[in-house]
Symmetry: D2
Subunit: 313 residues, 4 copies
């Protein structure tokens, strides 16, 4: 029987709620539903123990992790009805690059440090990478802040024999991959795109933040779909959706002799599920590589990242 | 400048209307909209001349091809406003395997004979293959009747240095390829399908016939999607749709920890356009191979056929 | 506090499952969700006791009602997790017009007899009306079999001071009322309908029967929508939908100067819920009228019936 | 034969393009498609002559009205292929409250002055009302700027025997009326709304302005639907949509015993058509009333206005 992966998480938001509840769900049920890779380097989805967690909110710090994941503004649904206390108390995280030693002392020998805080604070992201180096843990950066794209940091992880995975998590299944797939399908079949749009609606704190600061994400989406014919409508923050994301896609195209081809899609997913389904793979890859003595970037993670090393910062 | 392909067509239904009007559209406009392969063996989409056409209906036989393609029950829209007379008079086709010599004498030196009649009359299909052999033309069978799957026929075409392409046209873009693509995408991302359905609505004579004889097509669709979770609703013949086909697809699935993923799609296409967009490629492949002296089956056509040689009859 | 209505039900299918579970749900929760009329003649939705039930299936007869409602092919979901035994054992019902006295002796003083069996057996429907007359109970006919439309039967109920409500239940909310509403809205606003379609998909035994015998229902739908532009696609029996019904509606229309107006709708409902939500009202109306000494037809029920007295048989 | 209504229009945007082309369409075809009221006070939809038009853009002023309606940023489609010159040259309109006399001299005896400029310049709106009073014309205010809601102005129109209709045009058919109708239908049937959203996408200059200044319109929509459960997503300006508006509506509700009812709608309309279809009625009402000597507000217009006299400014 394989040793459980010892995991420390930074950020106790919806994505961590989904990850923690999901690990419990798969252990309890033995189900493989929604799982792309039942094992990574021999490590199952239930073979991960969260041993430390860090947050900043007064509603989360000091509480047991299994309570803190349900504190507002988190709104990922309660999947596991009766979660026993985890025994992990959420600790206060970093607010600047002071305190790296303190936090490194609290990760309790974690093999992997998963950085799952909101994007937009690159100094904090790098400070946690220093925590990982200090504590001898692999680092997974799910935010768009550049960490793995920093060549100097990457070199130091490599030298330390510690994996460094990042940056920017690609969801297991979401609007982008679906839109891409449909655009590519039309192109493959010789159907000419006339116009296309995408609208995304959601109710998480992440959505609220993106609505308040739309430009970055919006621009990256447009670039990602790489076509002047594809237009992305502004994100809509609709609190009643909770952690659901709803997307409306439209593709108008022309087939033989210019006759119309029209495609309308409505997609419903839970964003935190899409994150957790990838995080579980990244964490296991990081642990497997660390155990095998492989440090630095892991090429096998590229497909699960939006901005791996080498892409623009 | 390349010699135009001399083409004889059997069947003057919607698919032939789309093919004939489309060739005119591309010649007139120079557009490449809706075209997957601008050239096949150097042959452009406008480099095809219809030199003979065969039908059975009294409303079509004896009329110029450019009038006959608009005769009822054809309902593919008029794309080309002002089609000059083609000079090709629609001839009476075969009603049994008598008359092969007569028809072979009427194909006017066609390089390719495109069999685009309704499915379900295998003797007639094979008789037209004999016409092709007699006249020294390549043969393209777009129906589900077994012709290219008949090893003896295939051997004879091979021996004669004549291409034989078939059987059963796969549409350029339709419900099946879209449904397949979405099912595969979910599987690739580790999302577990719970259930899925597909409803197809159309207004052509082809649809009316399928509704009257649903079993064959329905069964082949179920097999094609290859999953007990995928259910195909009965075809709906809705005359007001004309040559449009409308499909509603639903996929219900489970992601991480069993959370719901839901996908609803509405697709609108013109079935005859989907057929013409593939027929133009098959005809050009057949002509190109014939000119190069390659007889028998053409492996490069496999992706455009539902039942190539080797599949069950 | 009002006396509970004593109710006997004929048919232990999905509709009865929804009715029985719903009464339990409203008693337990005090909720008024999904309820149009909290009280009818002072009778609340929880003020109904089922005192007798009749079925034919060997899987239902002889079992407690709270078990029998979950027997196959019933597939209405289990809404009430922990239903205590009802104390009502399902009795064998009528197979022809013999046994009226026997069944009348088993209704245990019910004030109302709710006939909720499959449509299509008019003799049985009338035999149960005789049971009601014999037992002194009001009669509610939810099937399309003519009972309340039989003037002689109606006269006898009137003479006996017993309410007779029927025929053919209109759902609380379903495809027909939605389609009607949208068609009327367009007409009111001066928008000209060009074409419209409706597709209904479901997974109940009722759907399976309708698919096997489509003509009656289909024809009545067409008549109900009363427009040559509205086309109804064949019903689709998709077992995985369970008691859900999914409808796709499309309306294509023309506004000012012929510009396009297009409306696509996807509706998801539970058919048995739509039936139970109306049955609870009809039963309470019947009980209220019976208690007030009003026999015969009740005009206030007309809006909940497809074929009240006076419409064609 | 009735005398044609002499109409002056302020604003040569999409709505005026739709109105002008539509009048030509109905005269040419005799069609009544998309028309709610073929006659108002005996005046048909073709019985309106535009005799004067005012704009500010250098691309429109000085050009014939039948050219100016196609100048950018107008993007309402060309419905009438061959519009002969109208003979009406677009004049420069007011930029402040100076020039009232000059403009009044240019309306050429119009019976009705239709104010169809962008909302948000209340002084200009009132200045044009003064133009109408000076010229002896009825006034129709389609903007949300308060004109008819100004009691003093209303009194002066009444005293002058001139109709004053406003404020704020309600579309002939659009998202609001559809959403209202669906919400009301659920309520009537006793179905309990859980949540609902609405997304509107469009490509006109009007949409671009609303996206830049979202608060007013958004707030009025929320108020109009009058329910905390209804959430309106931000408007999306998608230029490729042209004058089409696309709306996605969702309604989640609960029926009997809390079972789910779900409704998803996609609506496509042309906003300028929705405006023209109402403007033609308001203009005819104004002319009819003026001819009958009725001044001031016309109660029969209330249903076509969002903010008639008496509503808050």
């Amino acid at each position: 029987m394989i040793d459980k992966v010892r995991l420390a998480v930074v950020g106790v938001g919806n994505n961590t709620s989904a990850l923690v509840q999901g690990i419990s769900f798969y252990r309890r049920t033995g189900s493989r539903v929604g799982i792309g890779r039942p094992e990574v380097d021999g490590i199952g989805v239930g073979d991960v123990d969260v041993v430390a967690a860090f947050a900043l909110s007064g509603d989360k710090v000091g509480r047991d992790l299994h309570e803190a994941i349900f504190a507002a503004p988190n709104n990922f649904p309660r999947i596991e009805d009766a979660l026993a206390p985890s025994g992990v108390v959420v600790e206060r995280g970093l607010v600047d690059d002071g305190g790296i030693e303190r936090v490194a002392g609290l990760v309790k020998g974690a093999e992997v440090l998963l950085y799952s805080a909101p994007s937009g604070r690159p100094e904090i992201a790098r400070a946690y990478a220093e925590v990982a180096l200090t504590a001898g843990a692999a680092f997974v950066n799910t935010t768009s802040d550049p960490v793995a794209r920093d060549p100097e940091l990457l070199r130091r992880f490599e030298a330390a024999g510690l994996p460094l995975i990042g940056d920017d998590l690609a969801s297991q299944f979401g609007t982008s991959v679906l839109h891409h797939t449909l655009l590519r399908l039309l192109a493959e079949r010789g159907i000419t795109l006339t116009s296309s749009y995408q609208v995304n609606l959601g109710g998480t704190e992440d959505f609220r933040n993106l609505v308040a600061n739309p430009n970055t994400k919006h621009q990256s989406k447009v670039n990602a779909l790489g076509s002047a014919q594809v237009q992305i409508a502004p994100l809509g923050y609709l609190p009643h959706l909770g952690s659901q994301k709803i997307a409306h896609l439209n593709l108008e195209a022309q087939g033989w002799a210019g006759t119309a081809v029209s495609l309308d899609v409505r997609l419903v997913v839970h964003d935190p599920s899409g994150a957790a389904g990838v995080n579980i793979d990244l964490v296991r890859m990081a642990a497997g590589a660390a155990r095998a003595g492989r440090g630095g970037y892991l090429a096998e993670a590229a497909g699960m990242l939006k901005s791996p090393p080498g892409t623009a910062i």
